[in-house]
Subunit: 186 residues, 2 copies
């Protein structure tokens, strides 16, 4: 049986990250160990289904309505794909609610000596918690995690409005190599 407290990945990975290279950009000085008053950063849990995770995602995009069974099934599938899905959340321990989330998604390659490539996906902070450097904390955490996991690079796609934010965190549009293109089927 799957336990409610079960986490998507080994949380000791977060404890191993060296935050020192980015710490000076925070004022006040929050970090992975101390994300702020009553806040904790940790891997996604099954119990987050009832802790506002779906409502949080709905601030980002359309989530759809589905039950806990489907959530657990999807969680189990991601966990089965060990080493690929690193969904990381911030919990407000006072309310028991998840108030921030981001995904690091890993791809195995044959190129670059069978390297790993990271991608940041679905970064969101509850609108009531904005201005607390939490989006930045999530992105730094996932970026450091991708480096720790030996990714040769980490990338993301974003709207124009979010570009300055990601640039401030070290992400670059490379000259003549920064086109994001898509086809939507629905």
């Amino acid at each position: 049986m799957t336990k409610e407290i079960e986490e998507l990945y080994d949380r000791s990975l977060l404890e191993q990250l060296d935050f020192s290279s980015v710490q000076s950009s925070y004022n006040p000085k929050i970090n992975i160990e101390n994300p702020g008053n009553n806040l904790k950063i940790r891997p996604l849990r099954i119990s987050d289904y009832e802790a506002g995770y779906m409502q949080l995602l709905s601030q980002l995009t359309e989530v759809g309505e589905y039950g806990k069974e489907k959530f657990i099934e999807t969680f189990a599938l991601m966990k089965h794909h060990k080493g690929m899905y690193y969904i990381t959340v911030i919990e407000d321990v006072a309310s028991g609610q998840v108030i921030g989330s981001g995904t690091l998604f890993i791809e195995q390659k044959f190129i670059h000596n069978c390297a790993l490539r990271g991608r940041l996906e679905d970064i969101v902070v509850n609108s009531e918690y904005r201005g607390k450097q939490l989006g930045k904390l999530i992105v730094h955490t996932l970026t450091l995690l991708s480096k720790h996991l030996n990714c040769y690079k980490v990338s993301l796609d974003c709207k124009d409005s979010n570009r300055p934010f990601y640039e401030s965190l070290g992400y670059k549009k490379e000259e003549s190599n920064s086109n994001f293109m898509q086809i939507r089927f629905d």
Copy 2:
């Protein structure tokens, strides 16, 4: 034991794709079943390590030098992650060499009713085989495959020089939502 002929994914998926929506854009009329004289399109095989697959990738980017053991290990890892890695190649049966390749990589989401998202990666055609519509054939095949697998969208990132090619195949840079950003660690 892993068999040399073992393929990365079930090739019957390729037979299920409906090419009719794009067939009229080909002259001469090649398609998935008939990619051209002596050519076959199929999933990547372990034996492709000796069939020029690494040399083909090296026309795209730096591959590094590694032995067959590491190739098999990586192949096995991708295959273990069932439903995620769809590396598809074109073989010249006359020479026994792999002369084109592309990857469809699938991500499971919690958003959009636990949807799948597809990404095209590492598209390459041997320089001696260009002008035979094979790049287009690979991209169409992987795009149709992503739709067949029920992805809600499929995306890619590319250089400016490749943008017209992907636009001609239906890929779009969405207004104010087409930034590709990255951090390289090496």
